[in-house]
Homo-oligomer: 351 residues x 2
Amino acid sequence: MFKIKVLRREEIENILDVRNVIQGVEEAYISKARNEAEVFPMIFHEFESGNGDMDIKAGYLKGANLYGFKQVSWFGENPEKGLPALLGSMMIFEGNTGRPLGLLDASYITSIRTGAAGAIGIKYLARKNSKNLLMIGTGNQALFQLAASLSVLSEIKTVSVFNPRSPERAEKFVETIKDTLNRDFLKKFKENSEDYREIKRRYAVDFQTVNNIEKAAKEADIIITATPSKEPMIKKDWIKVGTHINCIGSDMEGKQEIDEEIFGLARVFVDDLNQSIRVGETETAIKREVIHKEDIIGEIGDLIEGKINGRLTDEDVTIFDTSGLAIQDLITAKYALDNAEKKGLGAEVEV
Amino acid sequence: MFKIKVLRREEIENILDVRNVIQGVEEAYISKARNEAEVFPMIFHEFESGNGDMDIKAGYLKGANLYGFKQVSWFGENPEKGLPALLGSMMIFEGNTGRPLGLLDASYITSIRTGAAGAIGIKYLARKNSKNLLMIGTGNQALFQLAASLSVLSEIKTVSVFNPRSPERAEKFVETIKDTLNRDFLKKFKENSEDYREIKRRYAVDFQTVNNIEKAAKEADIIITATPSKEPMIKKDWIKVGTHINCIGSDMEGKQEIDEEIFGLARVFVDDLNQSIRVGETETAIKREVIHKEDIIGEIGDLIEGKINGRLTDEDVTIFDTSGLAIQDLITAKYALDNAEKKGLGAEVEV
């Protein structure tokens, strides 16, 4: 009865770049700030503890007249079976009729919209003259965080990379990061376009591994954490004035990446107030009463909209805690669908 | 990366019949009784009060190694736009890897698995010698309730049909029901097969409209309610001993079809304990303290498994309250997918 567009990961990769996704995610955050977006309660199920789980995140973007959901599963033993551990798909629907619009692979969308969320935190909260960036974590998301964040930063000189469990992985990451950024992110822009030249310059920073995390943290203007850690890796005393911290990894109860005491001295921003308190990095700081809900300055959308103030001085420590919202996926998926239409990409199927 | 099967409503209709769906739904109920099935919390969102809503029901069938979800939307103004008010789609995934298996239209599956649920309530709870069946409601679901329930009843002589708001609709329903049953349900069975002959006989009952609902209820051996009512339509005093009541319509807070006092004199069975108390017909009886949770005899799966007793005597009044579980959809969808494979039906798409 309905023709829907089906987009595979390769087609989605072909369409999305860090600039168009950052723009989309900002729009989603703004919609939320204007009460034109809703995030529905998440369904989460653990099949076997530590071995397999799935979640369904759904939401509604009134302005864009669409709603939909994303289903993501993780099965630890998949790689042994020749399958990726993380799999996901999403569907979007017309907001005022329920008409299905598309079915999309969710893996690339999730990665790049999370990178975009981080970049937006940095764009609105980090000092413009930030020079040293410390990246904690060297997995898939570390790559997307750097690809997106560097695209919004013009003064970075050095990116220090730390893997809390394996210095070797940090070495490997640093060895390949420039090639990867150029191949997977820069190449999407038209060669010699203004975007291309600007992002090429921004990706041309120095990457180095660090072994002394305390020293690296003390020198950092921006710290990004993107690990599955359940223990704080960054201590309060290591944070210098003016630092901005992007907390990306914590998206489930019990996860924690930085000392909760840091929340006591920072201006704290989140993507969604309730979700951050429940499953974000903010969870522990609230549970241990380092801060109360009222101490959170607000949501990033309100900041972009100018309803609240971000950094007040160059001395402020700022935190952006994001655990990811379905509306980021929805707006990114809609952008991919619209552009697939223009570019003639994707299969059509009747459902 | 994955080839999935896409099934449209027509293809699904081609595969499913009342017998194979009843069998599947019984299996789903049994899995639940054996703790091999899980029903996840539902996502529900109302877009505009009384004008548009959507829900996502998800679950896991361990034995069948599959999980998945169904998204159903209702937009009251769709018919004016040439679209059905009710739309839905569902996806199922391999239970131990998350590999997507199929995308299916959900409208026919929802209708027929709800019919099957009703039939199972009747099969296990109504008196075998039931002769008079009273159907309250004349919508799409009334048709599926009769198609499935009559297939499990061998002694029915008369089906009385009542529409609480429009006698004309009841007339219309009765005029066309035999043709519809034969065309849409009987014809799926191989002509002159045993199933065909048996179901043909069972569909050949007398259908009549009733205007005096009190009299009809007092004569009924089985009452089925399948309306969107928010007010009780059947009074306690009208229920004769031995009657079985299938409560199908209540699937949301605030809906009610029968006098909650009837729960006080009945043996009450449900599809899911918590969901029935929250959104089923049982909701009001519990809220008004006619019964307490402990008074519910149990879930239908436990009855099928023989863990609890159903009807104890021919004098018992019994109630089956079903508000529908994702696992019914999942098992029905899996059956449709497997058979589509065999019959070469459905499109394939790479996702």
